[in-house]
Amino acid sequence: MESGEYGDANGLVRLLDVHRPELMRFLTARCGSADDAEDVLQEMWIKVSGQATGPITNGRAYLFRMANNLVLDRARGRRRSMQRERVWLEVEGGGVAHMPEDRADPGEPADEILAREQEAEVLRDAIASLPEGAQRALRLYRFEDIGQKEIAEIMGISRSGVEKHLALAMKRLRQALADCGAFGAVASEEHGEQGGGKPRMEQGR
């Protein structure tokens, strides 16, 4: 900070400092805890201070997106480890819950592969049962990497129409995954009627 340089990384660090209160507020709301928010902020600081970037047009948005993605990475990690434990419990415990530490080394996780195949299956079905517009928008967006603006042009509908299609698609995908326990017991508590029973992956189709 004391140096007189205007390097890109330096500029981002400065920007991080300027927007720190807003980012902290965002991260606290996003993580649900001030401690986690500070951890993420530290992680951001380390990333931007070591990073050389190309020109960034909107630095503030860049930092918020980075913060959001870091929080998502953490959530993704939590979900994966939760899922892994559950799969092991189901396969090895034969219905009796063992602590993951108690069981033998599972070796190559064939069961995980199975779980992932089921995951893909669930998604395939969910996509197939989307309304036509939502399905098409989703395929363009996620499988063809086409931006929202261009999708609007291709489909001949408004930007907000595209947003609605995509939001519906996302909501349905989330529902399909939640219904087969992809977000674990903690997440299903959040959703009233679904709570209670232990969520399991759907078996064979």
């Binding site: 400065r14 300027v18 965002f26 993605n69 893909a120 086409i146 939001a167 996302m170």
Partner: protein, 337 residues
């Protein structure tokens, strides 16, 4: 699944889709998250589901019927939702020093205030587009929604962004008259300086990396990567910043001189000639070249803008310089002795 949860998930999905766009309104998203702790969990699930979808992309894509028709993928151009957190690992062996991040008490109050605000906040998914004001030969008065006003100097450019019109970028000159609002902090970026304020009256002149800030009322804070610490400027103080040299100096200013360009006067105290000439170009439309050898000569005094060339002649006379060239392409020269 209750309808409330369904509603939350629908909103979460819209936010997730909006976050893939550059126009994402992060402030409004923050307020939405703060409004209900379930919001963040719902958002996580939607975003994770999208992540799972992308993990399975190869598998799902193969079996996909071609509903898209003959669309050429625009891969390089359009990955709107970049999933990259921050490209690259931290540091190539560079020493990493952890800064001390702010105290928690500071945002605790903000969070409460924001929760109250959230009751009234209607989800707004796109931030208003940045407003860009550009002046030519005459100045222009800009009224912000909260009653604050800005007089933008001639030949200047001001960009106003943010849902609360609280992020601005200035090139040129402007006199700010900002109303006090405890919930908002205005930040103005100008020539490598960040100027923050909460309700005050001050003037900013920024050309390239030369910035001057003069405060008439209240207090502003000035930061820059090349300043070791933020500088607090109170009423009656002015700061001159040279971003190339990384230097800044604070001196007293007379409040009647701050923003006096509005009344057709430019006052200087020991200002480099290059800077005076920059102002004459902006305020008087006088095009004049200054040889490098003269650009650091100092000028103190007041120029009356008038028709431009008059001010230029006055300047040359006071400085003991000769005005060469012709109208539209003047040149300040050291007279031969």
């Amino acid at each position: 699944m209750t309808s409330v949860n369904d509603q939350i998930l629908a909103e979460a999905a819209r936010w997730h889709i909006a976050s893939g766009d550059d126009a994402m309104d992060w402030d409004a998203f923050t307020i939405w998250l703060e409004a209900d702790p379930r919001h963040s969990a719902a958002y996580d699930e939607v975003a994770l589901a999208d992540g799972v979808l992308q993990e399975h992309r190869a598998t799902l894509q193969d079996s996909a019927p071609d509903t898209a028709g003959k669309v050429v993928p625009l891969t390089a151009v359009n990955d709107a939702l970049s999933r990259d957190t921050a490209p690259g690992p931290a540091g190539g062996g560079a020493e990493i020093v952890r800064p001390a991040f702010g105290k928690r008490t500071r945002w605790a109050g903000m969070a409460i205030a924001a929760t109250l605000a959230a009751v009234l906040a209607v989800p707004q998914f796109m931030a208003p587009a940045a407003q860009v004001y550009e002046t030519t030969a005459v100045s222009r008065k800009i009224a912000l929604e909260d009653g604050s006003t800005i007089v933008l100097a001639p030949r200047s450019n001001l960009t106003v962004e943010g849902r609360h019109q609280d992020h601005m970028a200035l090139s040129g000159g402007a006199l700010f008259d900002i109303r006090h609002d405890p919930d908002r902090q205005l930040t103005i970026t100008a020539g490598g300086l960040d100027i923050s304020d909460i309700g005050t009256r001050f003037d900013v002149q920024a050309q390239d990396k030369l910035v001057r800030v003069g405060v008439v009322e209240g207090k502003v804070e000035v930061r820059s990567g090349s300043l070791a610490a933020p500088v607090q400027l109170v009423a009656g103080k002015g700061l001159s910043f040279d971003g190339r040299a990384g230097t800044a100096s604070v001196a007293a200013v007379r409040s009647e001189d701050v923003g006096a360009w509005q009344k057709g006067r430019l006052s200087y105290d020991n200002a480099p000639l290059a800077l005076v000439v920059t102002d004459l170009r902006r305020y008087a439309g006088a095009e004049v070249a200054v040889p490098d050898a003269l650009s650091d000569r100092r000028f103190s005094g007041t120029l009356v803008i008038g028709d431009g060339d008059t001010a230029l002649r006055d300047l040359a006379q006071v400085m003991g310089l000769r005005l060469g060239g012709r109208a539209g392409a003047w040149r300040l020269e050291q007279p031969a002795r």
